[in-house]
């Protein structure tokens, strides 16, 4: 059990346990207080990723006695060490089996699905020409300026990507630009284009690129944590929903955005030949499921959710999470 006696060992085990406690209590709070706003859900789910990391540092600095035998015996609610001491036939530690299966599996998924594509994109982007700045319809530019004013942001630059595939995204964490492909420009109606631009500007207003990057950096430290993996994906989806709501508020039309999103659905073949194609099918299917969820939500939307956020409740819940986690070692 020497790994558990080291700081990295304690960090790994306790962050996994604390994030599990944080998720259970946060998700319960979301249900009990009927917090339907994705804005609220985004914040609660972000805290389930960040708080366990902060707690690991905080507890080890200010409460070193938590790791002693007598704290475990007299005060702890849960002692992970006992699970590592429990053996299966063949002298295999139950705790280690769980840690390797969950942590190792998560690390593999994180590396293959998130880190590797990130490095691949980074290498491909290097040395590439910046997207050319082209003027679009002056009327569109005026509406973009009006929407930017309403959102309280600088009007972003609009850049064109010469590509048939419908694509749109924001670039940059500090100074943002919206990149839109010629394929998408040719397909969208004026209303749909406005909805698309409004959605991207909502991301700019929310500093989505910067926030997501920050949270991703925290996730790098807890790459083994399955709870972080799941929560990150959910909060990315929540962020999209929040931006969808902002778009509806700005453009006045939920259906225009829904129609645009349908354009991004991938054609998924019925049968896959071989592993690479199977992998692509799974990814496209998953991509479509997430998009269809947003489309359905927009098409069925009869009112926007209340965006007010109860900070007192949030802090109270986090306080309770901290207290419970103190007794989990």
């Amino acid at each position: 059990m020497e790994f558990l006696d080291t700081y990295p060992g304690t960090f790994v085990v306790q962050t996994m346990l604390h994030s599990l406690v944080a998720v259970m209590l946060s998700e319960a709070a979301l249900v009990i207080w009927a917090l339907e706003s994705h804005h609220a859900r985004f914040r609660y789910r972000t805290s389930t990723i960040i708080l366990p990391v902060l707690l690991a540092v905080f507890f080890s600095l200010f409460f070193p006695d938590r790791n002693t035998f007598y704290f475990a015996r007299d005060m702890a609610l849960f002692v992970s060490r006992d699970w590592f001491a429990l053996s299966l036939p063949g002298n295999i530690s139950v705790g280690w089996v769980i840690l390797i299966l969950l942590g190792g599996g998560t690390a593999l998924v994180f590396f293959l699905q998130e880190l590797l594509p990130l490095f691949r994109n980074a290498f491909q982007a290097r040395g590439g020409e910046p997207y050319p700045l082209e003027r679009v319809d002056p009327e569109i530019e005026r509406l973009v300026r009006d929407m930017a004013a309403e959102l309280g942001i600088q009007p972003p630059e609009l850049r064109i990507l010469e590509e048939d595939m419908p694509t749109v995204f924001t670039t940059g964490a500090r100074e943002s630009a919206i990149v839109i492909s010629t394929g998408l420009l040719e397909t969208l109606s004026r209303q749909q284009l406005l909805a698309t631009l409004a959605h991207e500007m909502a991301h700019i207003q929310r500093r989505s690129n910067f926030t997501t990057l920050l949270i991703f950096m925290v996730r790098l430290v807890t790459f083994y944590n399955p709870v972080s993996l799941l929560m990150f994906r959910r909060l990315v989806q929540d962020d999209e929903h929040v931006c969808d709501d902002i778009t509806v508020r700005l453009s006045g039309s939920a259906t225009a955005l829904a129609a645009t999103l349908r354009l991004f659905l991938q054609q998924v073949p019925e049968r896959a030949k071989g592993m690479p194609e199977m992998k692509q099918v799974i990814m496209d299917h998953s991509h479509n499921l997430l998009l269809m969820e947003r489309v359905s939500r927009l098409e069925e939307m009869d009112r926007l959710t209340d965006e007010s956020f109860d900070w007192k409740l949030f802090l109270a819940i986090q306080g309770i999470v901290v207290v419970v986690c103190y007794f989990v070692i």
């Binding site: 035998f69 006992d82 699970w83």
Partner: protein, 174 residues
């Protein structure tokens, strides 16, 4: 109010769930530490093998032990002795088949001043002169004798620690 009550119920459920999962490995593996009210209640094999008790015992300490812990069905034993004055743990005597099985003491040397090896009771012992976390003296001596690992920790002078440890005699219980 209803929502607060529901949430508190959730917190209690999560807490209870953690406690249940905490209990499982101890129940299955039987490796938990057991507390005994007196030395008469300790596992038979330990009672037969003998418990190391000091014949020199400072007056400031209370007898019988304030806390008696065994682990592994008697493979390890720990006794804590408290001060008559303030009930603080002042002395711990631990014995086990292996040094790695010694039950940790409530008083542990934290800030080491010096460490040395010395001949002790016909064996080589490891003496640690240190202070506890609160700054009070916290000296420890560890050695192996007849296949048993022993550790004595005392919140007092080095001479008293050595006197106590020197006076230990294995005594069969019942």
């Amino acid at each position: 109010m209803r929502r607060t009550f529901l949430f508190l119920l959730t917190v209690l459920s999560v807490t209870a769930g953690l406690m249940v999962f905490n209990w499982i490995p101890r129940a299955i593996g039987g490796r938990g530490t057991v507390e005994h009210v007196s030395l008469q209640g300790i596992p038979q094999r330990l009672a037969t093998r003998g418990v190391f008790r000091p014949s020199y015992f400072p007056e400031l300490l209370q007898w019988p032990p304030a806390e008696i812990l065994t682990r592994g069905g008697g493979a390890s034993l720990l006794m804590h002795f408290n001060s008559r004055v303030d009930e603080r743990t002042e002395l711990s005597i631990a014995q086990a088949a292996n040094s790695s099985d010694l039950i940790p003491s409530r008083i542990e040397p934290v800030n080491v001043i010096t460490e040395k090896r010395l001949p002790f009771r016909g064996h080589r012992a490891h003496l640690t002169i240190a202070t506890c976390r609160d700054g009070s003296p916290c000296n420890r001596i560890r050695w192996q004798e007849d296949g048993i690992s022993l550790a004595v920790v005392f919140r007092g002078p080095e001479q008293d620690l050595l006197r106590i440890a020197q006076s230990l005699i294995p005594e069969k219980i019942r």
